[in-house]
């Protein structure tokens, strides 16, 4: 079995606001294996970014981890001091941000920005770091790097800037790369290039990736495992095939169903809005928007039901006593395909 490098257990994060405690992350557990890519999927405000910010230790000032552990190589990083976290950040765990247009310092040469973590973490001289920065620029596909290394961010296009951000994040060969919607702000054609580059670089530096996105289309090509988040909780967890072709949670159904396909002539959406996390609902948080909700959903929160060794979903529909329901047409089609895939595999 693959080596587990990150193990998040029962993470709970609150935000202190004037209106009260916002329970942004409510009992989230998952793990990350070496060299794998885990996609965290969910709509805005579901807690994807907050989860990853807790891992890198850069939560907002008014946020507080109120429970759980984040074990990195067996050590709970929530117990580490700020100083210890600084030596981890950029070296073992690094991050790519959503908008490359604003995530580079406009007044510093990009070469210097790439060299900075090396000087900080690897005790390199300025010259050595500069040479390594040049090497990184080549690796991420910047043409004419000898000249461009002296340029400032405004002299690059959005896609090029994201390549530079990737170079910064990977320059110290980190164990974990957190990518917070790294392609959302880019053109579709550039998106594909950046995703290819990320996969390419992942092999080169042997890093594990936590990939945050609300775009399921991106997930299919990138991820090994997928965690679907809703209202501060993970509602379904499985391999990419399991989530795409054998989804069990009605929320995952909704997400998949709202993806445009060649066959669909109209775009589906999930009705309603996520619950207010100032006062989270008692039962299943998705119940109010769920066409398949049962009485118990309003009363009691569903536990995780095991679908396979790698696949779990928190919905009462998986309870043995639950009535059989027929998911949306698109999901039925996918599940059929999954059955064919499994059959082919077993033969």
């Amino acid at each position: 079995m693959a080596e587990r490098i990150l193990d998040v257990k029962n993470l709970k994060v609150d935000f202190h606001t004037y209106a009260g405690e916002v329970k942004a992350i409510r009992d989230v557990s998952f793990h990350l294996n070496k060299g794998e890519t885990l996609a965290i999927v969910g709509e805005s405000g579901s807690g994807k970014s907050v989860t990853t910010k807790s891992i890198i230790g850069l939560l907002a000032n008014n946020a507080e981890v109120v429970g759980g552990e984040i074990n990195f190589h067996g050590e709970d990083i929530l117990k580490k001091s700020e100083k210890e976290m600084q030596s981890l950040r950029g070296k073992e765990i690094s991050m790519i941000f959503q908008d490359p247009m604003t995530s580079l310092d406009p007044t510093m040469k990009i070469g210097q920005q790439i060299a900075e973590p090396l000087i900080k973490h690897k005790n390199m001289s300025k010259k050595e770091a500069w040479d390594k920065a040049l090497e990184m620029l080549k690796a991420v596909g910047i043409t004419n790097p000898e000249k461009r290394i002296n340029d400032y961010p405004h002299q690059f296009s959005g896609g090029m800037r994201q390549r530079i951000v990737i170079a910064i994040a990977l320059v110290c060969d980190p164990e974990i790369l957190i990518a917070d919607e790294p392609t959302t702000a880019l053109d579709v054609t550039v998106q594909a290039e950046i995703l290819d580059l990320m996969k390419d670089m992942q092999e080169r530096v042997e890093t594990s990736i936590i990939f945050i996105t609300h775009d399921l289309g991106v997930v299919a090509g990138m991820a090994d495992c997928v965690a679907v988040m809703y209202a501060g909780e993970i509602v379904e967890y499985g391999t990419v095939d399991e989530i795409f072709y054998n989804p069990q949670h009605p929320y995952t159904w909704g997400l998949l169903n709202s993806m445009p396909t060649l066959a669909s002539d109209k775009l589906e959406s999930i009705p309603g809005t996520p619950p207010d996390l100032l006062d989270p609902p008692k039962g299943d948080p998705f119940a109010a928007r769920n066409a398949y909700a049962m009485k118990i959903d309003a009363e009691k929160k569903p536990p995780f039901f095991k679908v396979s060794d790698t696949h779990y979903a928190a919905t009462w529909l998986l309870h043995p006593d639950a009535p059989k329901v027929t998911p949306p047409e698109e999901i039925v089609r996918r599940q059929k395909k999954y059955a064919e895939m499994m059959a082919a595999k077993n033969n």
Binding site: Q86, S87, S103, D105, T107, K120, H121, H154, Q155
Partner: protein, 309 residues
């Protein structure tokens, strides 16, 4: 760069020409004459005096004569100070004003940046509140009040520094503080605002995610970006401080240019008014040019040639 500078110098000359022209005619429209006891003078006396000073000619001729003189570096002769040339008059006094202004500016900006940065880093804590209160006090207390307080408590009671006068460095300390508190407060307020904004930007988040310490994040990334808006403010401020603060110079009995300027206006000392005005204007246009150059050094997005980057 060369072409750009040449163009800028051309514009500067044009600006100064316009200032000279407008000031000259405005000045001529001021009521009164340069003579202290005009009522007691006979018409003949006035006529002779006017002839001597060239005031009998039509205004446009006076204007041309003045302009011609200025082009040759001759600013005319002062009326009130026993026929001293204006250039000598200014030359004798500009040194003290410039030294004081520059010191005040350096003092104000240096401490202003430190206080403003601390306030921004400790945003919404007691340190922030303290810095803000300090800035408001610094901005609202007139500098002459502060000057008198300094004179009384530090100069007279403690006797640390000389009360007034002009001599060695110790003479400059109290006026520098009195003059510098204004820019200090302004700078602190400015840096705080712009740094709070910079600190919440994405590139600061990225800098933190590199594992840099708080000090490194501020020193390497936040400070330079926060300074950009301050540069605009500092140019004109520097000029007005360097060309003298009349009140402070008066209180500390400093032979500077500010006092001179007021007196020359009161007595219709035309050549001196023109001379000091031209000095102010020249200082301002030069400082604006320097500001633009500093801008391009701090912010690589600004290129002086105006070419596409």
């Amino acid at each position: 760069m060369k072409k750009y500078l040449l163009k800028r110098v051309g514009y500067m000359a044009l600006t100064l020409f316009l200032v000279a022209t407008i000031t000259f005619f405005l000045m001529k429209m001021m009521p009164g004459s340069p003579y202290a006891n005009e009522a007691k003078m006979s018409a003949t006396q006035i006529k002779i005096m006017n002839e001597q000073y060239g005031l009998d000619k039509p205004v446009w001729q006076q204007y041309l004569i003045y302009l011609f003189g200025m082009l040759h570096g001759d600013l005319g002769t002062s009326f009130q100070y026993s026929n001293q040339p204006v250039s000598a008059l200014i030359g004798n006094r500009i040194g003290a004003s410039m030294q004081l202004g520059l010191q005040a500016m350096i003092f104000g900006v240096f401490f202003g940046i430190i206080i403003g940065a601390i306030a921004a880093i400790k945003h919404n804590t007691w340190a922030d509140t303290g810095a803000t209160v300090l800035a408001i006090i610094g901005k609202s207390v007139p500098n002459f009040v502060l000057a008198i307080l300094l004179q009384y408590y530090i100069g007279l009671k403690l006797g640390w520094f000389p009360l007034a006068g002009w001599g060695d460095f110790s003479h400059t300390i109290m006026p520098t503080i009195a003059l510098g508190v204004g820019p200090l407060a302004e700078t602190a307020r400015f840096i705080r605002t712009s740094m709070v904004e910079v600190l919440s930007s994405d590139y600061i988040e990225l800098a933190k995610s590199k594992g840099l310490s708080r000090f490194e994040v501020v020193y390497h990334h936040a400070l330079r970006n926060s300074l950009i808006p301050l540069v605009t403010l500092l140019g004109p401020y520097t000029v007005s401080l360097m060309t003298g603060s009349m009140v402070i110079e008066n209180i500390f009995n400093i032979p500077g240019i500010g006092e001179q300027f007021v007196k020359s206006i009161m007595t219709n000392d035309y050549p001196t008014i023109m001379g000091v005005t031209m000095l102010f204007s020249a200082g301002l246009v030069v400082v604006i040019l320097i500001t633009d150059i500093i801008y391009s050094i701090i912010d690589p997005r600004i290129r002086l040639e105006g070419k596409k980057g």
